[in-house]
């Protein structure tokens, strides 16, 4: 299953305007303006100038907050988004409610205190973002994330993503029973997404600091239902064609 572009010009638009470039522009702009986010509950609030607001929208970070304030557009960033901008892209500083700048370690502890599985989720999020996929919350589809090939205005999300921890106790354990497999693939099929499981191996690094996460490894696996009635013919040609657009099967070498 290849990407489902919205409208006929969308793919061309995406090709002309690669996500890596948009994120890079956002990064530069945030650095230039020394942007600061305010930690607020499980979100980080960020006031953006007009130019940044456009870039945040185009790069798909956060959700704009509807407000009457004229010169600023506020955005609400999720924990993974905020930490990615702060730690991986180094373009956002985050302050607590006392307006004091939080260092990376403090922030890391805070994220973990709000969400025990944050290190693995962050690894999953940053893994896909670094491959220039757009990653948004998957709660609408009962999964952890959804991954888009480009901006959601141009293309439907291709993957419904579940984060799975390898080794001792899968905290997020989502596909333990066959009924879980049925349930999730059924739902994904209904919304035309492929179920992607990211197995995070912590490689005994623990999660004391965010640098531990850099040593985690990620393995990608898709879970699909196979229908013997529709696959009777050799479709390797079609498959390799769509593979150029979707995924490279590493298991068929």
């Amino acid at each position: 299953m290849g990407p489902r572009w919205k409208g006929k010009d969308s793919e061309a638009k995406a090709v002309k305007d690669p996500m890596s470039k948009i994120v890079w522009e956002l990064q530069s702009s945030l650095i230039q303006l020394k942007s600061q986010g305010l930690l607020c509950g499980c979100s980080v609030l960020l006031a953006a100038e007009a130019e940044q607001a456009v870039l945040l929208n185009r790069a798909c970070f956060g959700e704009p907050i509807t407000a009457a304030e004229k010169d600023k557009q506020w955005f609400q960033l999720g924990l993974e988004e905020a930490f990615y901008l702060c730690y991986s892209l180094k373009c956002l500083n985050i302050v607590g409610e006392d307006k004091r700048l939080m260092n990376v370690e403090e922030l890391w502890s805070f994220m973990k205190s709000k969400k025990a599985i944050f290190p693995d989720f962050y690894k999953a999020y940053s893994h896909l973002r670094m491959k220039n996929w757009v990653v948004k919350s998957g709660s609408r589809y009962g999964v952890d994330f959804v991954a888009y090939r480009h901006h959601p205005a141009l293309v439907h999300s291709e993957f419904a993503v579940l984060v799975s921890t390898e080794g001792g106790g899968d905290v997020n354990g989502r596909i333990k029973m066959w009924s879980d497999v049925h349930c999730t693939t059924r739902l994904c099929g209904g919304v035309v997404k492929t179920l992607l499981v990211l197995n995070i191996n912590e490689n005994s690094q623990g999660a004391v600091s965010p640098s531990c996460v850099e040593k985690y490894t990620v393995k990608e696996r898709t879970i699909r239902r196979w229908n013997p009635e529709k696959c009777r013919e050799d479709h390797t040609v079609v498959e390799s064609e769509t593979n150029n657009h979707t995924v490279i099967e590493s298991g068929t070498k």
Binding site: M1, K6, V15, P18, M19, S20, L128, K131, N132, W133, R140, A147, R149, H150, P152, A153, H156, S157, F159, S164, E166, I175, K176, M177, W178, D180, V181, H182, T185, R186, G189, G190, V191, V192, L196, N199, K219, E220, R221, T222, I223, R224, R225, W226, N227, P228, E229, K230, C231, R232, E233, D234, V247, I248, E249, S250, G251, T252, K253
Partner: protein, 265 residues
């Protein structure tokens, strides 16, 4: 927001078409009829095989029709078929199974052979076999060569697949007992490869079957774990895997494929 709108328009009902994953929806299968199941027409072309309890296979004594091109393993000029092959053909009325006194065994006795689990194929495995065969797929026991003729050649392309197979290829003897040994070696309680499945192919030859399209695996009640998946992938050396889950007679197939998402521009 726009995402929700567009995607929900695919809705529940259309997932057959949109994703091609679901064959029949729940309601289509039930009919409030007389309770009689349609019978298959009786056949004129009927093969015969004699059950060999030691081998836990049937020796084909009368071969009729072209189905034998893709059924049974060829050994010493004979064709031997496994219990699932016997039962599949017997249900169709294409095979009569005889006991050692040449008395015809009724279907019930064949079901008993599957039920007792001693012949290397469980009822669930038979259901998967039957569904695939009914659709024209070519199905053989995993790692059991179709014939010993091309085994050295085919061994090259599937060499890493199964130690049993290479053990068999190495042994010069076509001793029938080695086949039994192979079946008895199958483990019961963990994720394991069961069938080698080939796409429907009228040119299929037992002497050069090529690599299977996929290996059908069964698990012990739960979806395969990461460790099981990786072990099976190593064992099957590059042939794709599919996993079968059967509940209430419904056969479901799933793939758990390793992928690598591309780095986008």
């Amino acid at each position: 927001m726009e995402v929700v709108k567009c995607e929900s328009s695919f809705g529940e009902d259309s997932d057959d078409d949109s994703h091609g994953q679901y064959a029949n929806d729940d309601d289509a299968e039930y009919s409030y009829a007389s309770g009689l199941v349609p019978k298959l027409q009786s056949r004129n072309i009927v093969s015969k095989a004699r059950w060999n309890p030691k081998m836990e296979m049937a020796e084909v004594i009368v071969q009729k029709g072209s189905l034998w091109k893709t059924t049974g393993i060829a050994r010493s000029g004979m064709i031997y078929c496994s219990i699932e092959e016997v039962l599949f053909l017997a249900e169709l009325g294409a095979l009569i199974l005889l006991d050692h006194c040449d008395a015809t065994l009724p279907l019930e006795d064949i079901y008993v052979k599957v039920a007792n689990g001693k012949n290397g194929c469980s009822w669930e495995q038979f259901q998967a076999y039957k569904q695939l065969k009914s659709l024209g797929y070519i199905v053989g026991r995993h790692g059991v060569p179709w014939s010993l003729k091309g085994v050295n050649r085919s061994n090259e392309c599937v060499s890493s697949k199964c130690s049993v197979e290479s053990a068999l290829a190495d042994s010069e003897s076509e001793d029938k007992s080695s086949i039994i040994g192979m079946f008895n070696g199958m483990q019961i309680n963990e994720a394991r490869p069961v069938f080698d499945v080939y796409l429907p192919n009228s040119k299929f030859r037992k002497s050069s079957p090529g690599d299977p399209s996929f290996v059908l695996c069964f698990t012990g009640g739960y979806p395969p774990s990461k460790a099981e998946l990786e072990a099976l992938e190593r064992q099957c050396g590059g042939v794709p895997l599919k996993f079968c889950h059967i509940e209430h007679g419904r056969v479901n197939f799933f793939s758990f494929d390793r992928v690598e998402l591309p780095v986008l521009p």
